[in-house]
Symmetry: C2
Subunit: 228 residues, 2 copies
DNA sequence: TTCCGTATGATTGTTGACAGCGCGTTGGCA
DNA sequence: TGCCAACGCGCTGTCAACAATCATACGGAA
């Protein structure tokens, strides 16, 4: 049986996966604010399914750390405090350094070139002044970086951390001052990979983390009053 | 189902958690061999609970990567091939390097001293020729290393990777040749942390990974016939 | 003999209902 | 007025039953 064209993998996503994806998106982009309570029955009714699949989806997000569940009370969207922001970026950088290390010692050139294309996208978005497009390309850059390392576990871990990062970024809401610097950082990372400069890459990834933390934490300080 | 336990510490752990822990232990120590099918109804009957909690526990382990679920077919204990072993150790080392980096720049001395205690335990077990005790202390060392970094996310990720490591180690089953070298490696890592020698620590963690991979992959080669 | 269609059995996916726990509120009492 | 206890409500935890789906085995036709 020979198919000249790929007949579409026709893999229907399971119901809980679909629900989880939808909830995850809503949490990531801030539609569901931190602290919000999610009620299984309400969501089930809203989606037209039973509580079972909803429960399963919620359980999944709980394990990802996006929700916290209190027995016999309810599940709530996780609140993110300053130490969480640090933790997220620490963990994310750890994963990206590992991925970068793998890339630096095989496939430098191709991976670097691929990543530079994402930097171009960021650059265009920056020139157009489209803040959300910059963030989008930013996320895509980091995701691609890890994806290129072809490590299932690193990819899975990173995906989780990336949605948490999105939650962090919602606090900034477009008030970036130095977007050109942000683009330059990514270009530096991509170039270090392209050239196989392992040590330089590690330094730049660490610096990228530190810069992001400075930006986020100062902003967090400013938003403190609205956090209650 | 009624719980007739009287005056236990309080059964605050949820039922699915207990089931998941039990299954996880059985998978980690090889009681449930890779490829084994788990049937919800059977487990439920065996434990005297309904399929609901069992399903939730299975779903949790699936997300951890210990089980693979095929729709309408069943869930099976994950098979681990050579690339998985590499991936597990790559990811685990990434986490431990991050944790080590945090420790090296604050709390060197205390953390190093604490870890050296675990090295002592390994040493004693090695002297006694107790293979499983060595592995136990080995795991405990790595867990403690990450725990000391006080990063919730790194800890959670690491815990998952550690159970997968246990699955890998089941293939060796006590045929270690150079256990003294194994102990020495851990001592070297602990000392590098104690002294705040960041670069040295990173090198030693990488070396530890490479050594483990050599051991495991050669053993894996030998076990290939039993893998069908 | 080989291939296709069908029947059957097993297992997961989904549903609605019931029970238990904790919080908030209300009512009574000092 | 202030405090305590009992009550009710909302929600999750758990359960048993039903539906959907896939793998396998079997039987018949080319």
């Amino acid at each position: 049986m020979k198919n000249r064209r790929v007949l579409e993998p026709i893999m229907q996503e399971s119901t809980p996966s679909l629900i989880a994806a939808q909830l995850r998106r809503n949490i990531a982009d801030g539609a569901l604010a931190p602290g919000t309570q999610l009620v299984e029955a309400d969501i089930a009714g809203e989606l037209g399914v039973s509580r079972g699949p909803v429960r399963e989806a919620i359980q999944r997000l709980t394990q990802e750390g996006l929700l916290v569940s209190i027995r016999n009370r309810g599940v709530f969207v996780s609140e993110i405090d300053e130490s969480d922001i640090r933790d997220i970026y620490e963990a994310r950088t750890a994963v990206e350094k590992a991925a970068g290390g793998i890339l630096a010692q095989r496939d430098h050139a191709r991976a670097g070139a691929e990543l530079l294309r994402f930097v171009e996208r960021m650059d265009k978005a920056s020139a157009a002044g489209d803040g959300s497009a910059i963030s989008e390309a930013d996320m895509a850059f980091h995701q691609k970086l890890v994806e290129l390392a072809a490590s299932p576990r690193l990819s899975r871990i990173h995906a989780t951390l990336l949605t948490e990062t999105r939650m962090c970024l919602n606090r900034l809401q477009g008030r970036f001052e130095d977007e050109s610097a942000r683009v330059a950082e990514h270009r530096g990372i991509a170039e270090a990979i392209r050239d196989g400069e392992r040590d330089l890459l590690m330094d730049r990834l660490d610096a990228h983390k530190d810069d992001a933390l400075v930006r986020l934490l100062s902003a967090h300080e400013g938003n403190k009053t609205t956090a209650s």
